[in-house]
Amino acid sequence: MKMIRTATAALAVALGLATAATAEPWSPPADKPQVPAGVAEPLDLKKPLTIYHIEGRRSQRIAWLAEELGIPYNLVYVRGDVPGSGGIIRALPIRISFAPTIWENGRYMFESGALVEYLLAKYGKGRLLPAKTSPDYPIYLNWLHFAEGAGMSRFYRDQTGLDAEGFSRFNMGQKEGKPKTDVSESMENLDAMEAHLSKYPYFGGSQFSGADIMMYWAWERGVAINEITGNPKSKYPKVYDWGARMEARPAYKRTMLRALPDNQPDQCRVQCKPGSSRPAGTPPAPR
């Protein structure tokens, strides 16, 4: 009897360990990405990466990263239909619905900072990432996390307040008066970005990196708040110069043509502004 109990315990330990070592990832495996009819692009199963996208959302980052690294990717979204693109993500067999979600190597994964780290480790071959021994490495890590840490949490909250007052980033210059929302923490973010870019050309230090890709989406919100509250661009020259350099990158331009083809004014900082340097593109798409 004792022997049987011992055997059972040992077996349980063995099985338990085997389970721990071979457990399925949290997101359930799927041999191919789930894609409904009516999406903007046909699905090519030979491509290793599928990105679930909503126009003007964080999924743009992952498409940009794939363009920079040359990873062939499917971009799944419904053109001109933000709720429709969101509905595709909501229908996936995953626990947290978010753009970006990717399908890669037989599983779904989300969280843009984690995706940047994952895809750089797997496909980067050392590109867009300083070596762990480089003095740039802590700088890279800090801005990689700042983008959705101090960065977006404060830009997002302040913009929510501005939106409630009618000062959305989509009608800049159209509403008179000055907003009452306290945007001091957003300004503090921009101060920190300006101070950094006064010393380094990129958020990852001396080289363009995944930290810049993470920061651009936050940058768009930050400079919008700067302008909504009536500050001149000259208050943050390095910040604006960095943004212009990002938008001049060929991979960024390719990304925007594919991921925001209609340049919808409700999702694009630059297009909605009079005198934009960005190509005018198509007329505003109705919501």
């Binding site: 984690a114 994952y118 101090a150 404060r154 409630a164």
Partner: protein, 250 residues
């Protein structure tokens, strides 16, 4: 004889797994990681400096703490650690940097392992998707003068794909067959997720629906290193009771 064979098989499995983990970790180590550099962890009112202190206590690293009494900025962009010549402000970046330099391969699953993508997700989720939804939910409650939680995930898709409630439900699913946010073993993702835990339980949410998350919190805060860290960090590291002003909880 049979039990002995099974026991040996179990030991072999266990030993094999441990060996694989150790080898994989060693391969990711930077070559000059042996020389530990001075680590300073800054304490500021309104900031939980507990996370890097807890990490240092788990790793047995030597560190000193320094109170920042005259902050020129708000805590969110103030220095959190200084390691060697590098100063970092972001909690997740601070932990990742300390691990990469002082303890490569420790408190994280090996790169390329099954648990690794999930570990990456949670290390970012804690301050990103997790806390950003907490902030938005607070703003929404304040703008509607609501003392209790208002759901904000929209069934039709679009921008409101998730909120704190759906994030909590997803975490509960994850913990159904996982012990830690870092995988089968405790790691730095667990240290980071404590910030989300301490802000996520809005009045009006039913804690009993999130028993696994609460159980996880009990297990990780029972660790001796957590208790040592709490004592070292002092009152500023005390967990906030309610997410009245989550921006102070960074």
């Amino acid at each position: 004889v049979k039990p002995l064979i099974i026991a040996i098989a179990a030991t072999a499995l266990f030993g094999g797994a441990a060996f694989t983990v150790g080898r994989a970790s060693a391969q990711t180590a930077p070559r000059n990681a042996s020389a530990a550099k001075p680590l300073t962890i800054y304490l500021a009112k309104g900031r939980s400096s507990l996370r890097p202190i807890w990490l240092a206590e788990e790793l047995g690293l030597t560190y000193r703490t320094e109170a920042l009494n005259d902050l020129k900025t708000t805590p969110a962009v103030a220095p959190l650690i200084k390691y060697g010549n590098a100063t970092l402000t972001e909690p997740a970046a601070s932990l990742a940097y300390i691990l990469s330099q002082a303890a490569p391969g420790k408190l994280q699953p090996p790169a390329g392992s099954v648990a690794w993508p999930d570990y990456l997700v949670w290390t970012h989720f804690a301050q990103a998707t997790g806390m950003s939804r907490v902030y938005r939910d607070v703003t929404r409650m304040e703008s509607r003068s609501s003392a209790t939680y208002l759901p904000n995930a929209r069934p039709g898709g679009g921008a409101g794909l998730n909120d704190t409630e759906t994030n909590l439900m997803a975490i509960e699913d994850y913990l159904a067959d996982r012990t830690f946010f870092s995988g089968a073993e405790f790691g730095s993702a667990d240290i980071l997720m404590i910030g989300f835990y301490e802000n996520a339980f809005f009045p009006g949410l039913e804690p009993r629906q999130y028993a696994r998350f609460i159980d996880w919190y009990g297990r990780v805060t029972a660790r001796p290193a957590y208790k040592r860290a709490l004592a070292k960090a002092g009152p500023d590291a005390a967990p906030p009771r309610a997410p009245a002003n989550p921006t102070t909880a960074r």
